[in-house]
Symmetry: C2
C-alpha cells in the first residue's frame, strides 16, 4: 500500500469533469464531485464516490435517489458552492427548486440526471455509489464549454484546447 | 429508466481524464479508460469501470492486479492505441516492459499506479472495480499538460485553458 501523500500526488494531476450531486433524505444536501462517470448505457448506469470526510457523506448514504448535475464552464459558481466547506448551498432559494419527487435541482445547468441508487460499496470509509438513471433533462442547443478540474485549478475546454489526432497507421477515413 | 440514447447524449459532453489500464491474468491486456478516479487517499483506493462490450472485459475480471497509467497530452498515441478496437497493443515491444510482478507497463508515462483489486461489482453487464494502490511511480519534474476526452474529441489542458475564479463572498485569502 502506498502512502496517502504519494497517492494524492499521483491523482493531483489527473483531470476530471465536475458534477454537483444533490439529494434529500430528510434534509437537502449538495456537494461537488469529480468522480462521476458512466458505467453502462444499456441499462443506463452511472457511478461516483463520496469521501468519508465529506459533510454530505452520512446523509447521502440514506438517499434512495440523487440528482447528478453535469456542470459546464458557466456553472463554475455552482462547482465552487458545492465544494466550499461550510457554505449553505440552499440559502439562495432563487437558484434551485424541488422536483415533484423531492430532490433539489439547481437552475441554469444544461444537463442533469436523476438516478436511483443500486449499490453502495464501502471502500476505506468512503462510499462508491452505482445508480440507474431514471430521468434526465437537457437544455436546448449545445451547452457551454466543458469544465475540468486538475491540480486545484479549473479549466475551460474551448475549441482552442482541441488536439489534432495524428493519422493512425492502418486506420481508414470513413 | 431512461433510454440508452438519452443517457449517452447526457454523458457525451461530460469531460474525463484518460488512463491506460493494463493487466496480465494469463495474456496481457491494455485498454483506455475514462472512468478512473480516486476514492480515498487513506487507504489509497481508486475505481474504474469496464464495459461489457470491451474486448478486455473478460480477461480483466480474472486479474488480481492492474497497472493504471494516468495519461498526459503527450501520451495521446497510447490513449488511441488502447481505444482502437482490434489493435495489437503489445506488437511494438520497445514501448513496454514487464514489472517483476508481471504486469505490462508502457514507457513514457509520467505517473502510474499498481493496484490490487478489492471489489468487482457487476453493474448491468459492465463491471466496477475498486482497487488498493500498492505501488506507484512518477517521472521527475512536472508532467506534460493534462489530457481530456469530451464529445469524441481530445483536449490539452494548457495554461490558457485555466479559468480565473471569481472572489467568493465571505471567503478569505490565506
Amino acid at each position: 500500500m502506498i502512502s496517502a501523500d504519494d497517492f494524492k500526488q499521483a491523482f493531483r494531476l489527473h483531470p476530471s469533469g465536475v458534477a454537483l450531486i444533490t439529494a434529500d433524505p430528510g434534509d437537502p444536501v449538495a456537494f461537488t464531485a469529480s468522480s462521476v462517470s458512466a458505467v453502462s448505457a444499456d441499462p443506463p448506469l452511472l457511478m461516483f464516490s463520496v469521501s468519508a470526510l465529506s459533510s454530505s457523506a452520512l446523509s447521502l448514504r440514506l438517499a434512495d435517489t440523487v440528482v447528478v448535475h453535469l456542470l459546464a464552464a458557466d456553472n463554475l459558481d455552482l462547482a465552487i458552492l458545492g465544494a466550499h466547506r461550510g457554505a449553505d448551498r440552499f440559502a439562495d432559494t432563487t437558484r434551485w427548486r424541488r422536483l415533484p419527487t423531492g430532490e433539489p435541482v439547481f437552475n441554469d445547468v444544461h444537463t442533469w440526471l436523476r438516478a436511483r441508487i443500486l449499490h453502495r460499496i464501502d471502500a476505506g470509509g468512503s462510499t462508491v455509489f452505482v445508480g440507474t438513471a431514471i430521468e434526465s433533462a437537457s437544455g436546448s442547443g449545445e451547452p457551454d464549454d466543458g469544465l475540468v478540474y486538475r491540480n486545484r485549478t479549473w479549466h475551460r475546454l474551448a475549441p482552442d484546447s482541441v488536439v489534432r489526432v495524428p493519422e493512425l497507421a492502418g486506420s481508414q477515413s470513413a
